[in-house]
Amino acid sequence: MPVAVILLALAALASLSLFVGAIDMSPADLWRDPEALRLMLVSRLPRTLAAMLAGASLAVTGQIMQVLARNRFVEPMTAGAGQSAALGILAATLFVPGAPVWIKMLIAAGATLIGSVGLLLMIRRLPPTQPLLVPLVALVYGGVIGAAVTFVAYQGDMLQFVQIWLTGELSGVLQGRYELLWIAGGVALGTWFIADRVTVLALGDAAGRALGVNVAAVTAAGLAAISLVTALTVVTLGAISFIGLVVPNLVSRLIGDNLRAGLPLTASLGALLVLGADMLGRVVRMPYEIPASAMTGVIGAALFLALILREPKHG
């Protein structure tokens, strides 16, 4: 059972994560030293949870995106959704600077939704005989929106902030500053209820309608989930790419594309990758840190290359 193995590895890594960082700490210190306990509750535990929540929800929504786009090589974070989220939060910061975080978050989610719908409308017009056009167009689309983000930020003298949203990292995660990610986790869990319908849509909109599935409603629900998770991650941690691309491809290879059956594996594998990436980032240059998004970029690219090179003829 791959899920059991991954969950075991995840539990081991999570326990280890609690004791890895710039400040040395052993399990015994928790009993002796109240300061150690405080560090655990305020920093290490939130950070570990944040990595797992983000990883799980990014992986799950990445898979939904690939079904809706009918293409295995797109992921929300690089295909315009991540950049749209940054654009939304940038606009919110510029125009309603005093608004509470959740309002800014909703604005970011709205911008992400518009960005994702725009992408889908565009790539559905591409010829299905050219599957590699889709990720190319998606990358260009993401790049164009990213350029708009940089331009607006430059004009508004906010380039440093943008860097924070476009580079996902977890060193700033503290108790009280990551809890929005629980909503992302909840949304990912909630996709279990539409997972079977999304799988039917993998056969195409026509086949979905023939089976009595409300195609428009399921597509809308899927896009809403993608937008919420992307926006919540960008707002809380910054953009973390490759998870939504690599994990669904790995899961597809391991157990296939039945979304509901695969959900536990997808979620736990995503959690494992982001947590592992963050921990590696913590230790390779101790006491300095390398952003988790840089680590997922390296790990994800290597995994993806391996997957592509082993791709059978009828992928």
Binding site: A207, A210, D257
Partner: protein, 250 residues
């Protein structure tokens, strides 16, 4: 009964169907044949509400296409679209189970599993149940798709060129199964075919379409002749009667 009344259809301004009225009574195998671009697939897609009706009316028993809920219609009528390519990596058993979706809405019960087992057995797919679709031959994949439509458990079954990519053994096997489903289970099967000989051999009735109109309609022995091939298909092939059934000499 599938009742088609005054249906016209255009795609991007190009007329595909002209004022078609046709009744397809319950039971039996009806073959839709005709040259390429005659509008067979469009007509089938309109009946199965895969394409929105532009003018005219279609009803399946008491259900009006376009007004009836998708789920209710999906319990009465199943379609296997033309050259459906499944890019998702699904196992044969999972694919066939999807055919039960209109009934179980994502929560398959014991009855669904029984029907799936029966469908897999009927289409000789039991040994392939846990295989991924991308590890099947073209014929096996086609069989799995027909099994999925069959598992939907509907009275009406529409198939758009199911013999594409099938060799002669697989084609005859599939047509035999469809024939048997019509005779033993009382299913009404409408099938788009390219090969007139398969239509003449296995169908009770042939509807010939040409240029978006119904050119001929009747039992194979009544309508398949030299004149039909010359006028509709624009080719001079000879038709002979063998055991009372027309056969086109190609």
């Amino acid at each position: 009964m599938i009742s088609i009344r005054n249906v016209s259809h255009a795609i991007h301004g190009a007329p595909i169907l002209h004022d078609i009225s046709l009744d397809l009574p319950r039971g039996g195998v009806t073959a839709l044949i005709g040259p390429n671009g005659a509008g067979k697939s469009t007509l089938l897609s309109l009946i199965a509400r895969l394409v929105k009706l532009q003018s005219g009316a279609i009803s399946v028993d008491e259900l009006e296409v376009g007004k009836a809920a998708d789920r209710v219609l999906a319990q009465h009528l199943a379609i296997m679209p033309q050259s459906l390519t499944v890019s998702a990596r699904l196992r044969v058993g999972e694919l066939v189970m999807m055919g039960r979706y209109p009934w179980h809405q994502g929560r398959p019960g014991a009855e669904d599993r029984e029907i799936i087992a029966a469908a897999l057995a009927k289409f000789a797919l039991e040994p392939l149940r846990d295989r991924f679709l991308d590890a099947l031959s073209g014929g096996q994949r086609q069989r799995a798709l027909v099994a999925m439509a069959y598992a939907q458990g509907t009275d009406y079954l529409l198939l758009d060129e199911p013999l594409n990519n099938l060799d002669i053994a697989a084609s005859r096997h599939l047509m035999g199964l469809l024939r048997e489903m019509a005779e033993r289970e009382g299913k009404s099967i409408v099938i788009v075919l390219h090969d007139i000989n398969y239509a003449a051999a296995f169908a009770d009735r042939i509807v010939v379409m040409s240029g978006g109109r119904v050119a001929a309609d009747g039992a194979p022995g009544e309508i398949v002749n030299d004149g039909l091939l010359r006028d509709v298909f624009d080719t001079n092939a000879e038709v002979r009667l063998i055991d009372g059934k027309p056969v086109v000499l190609v």
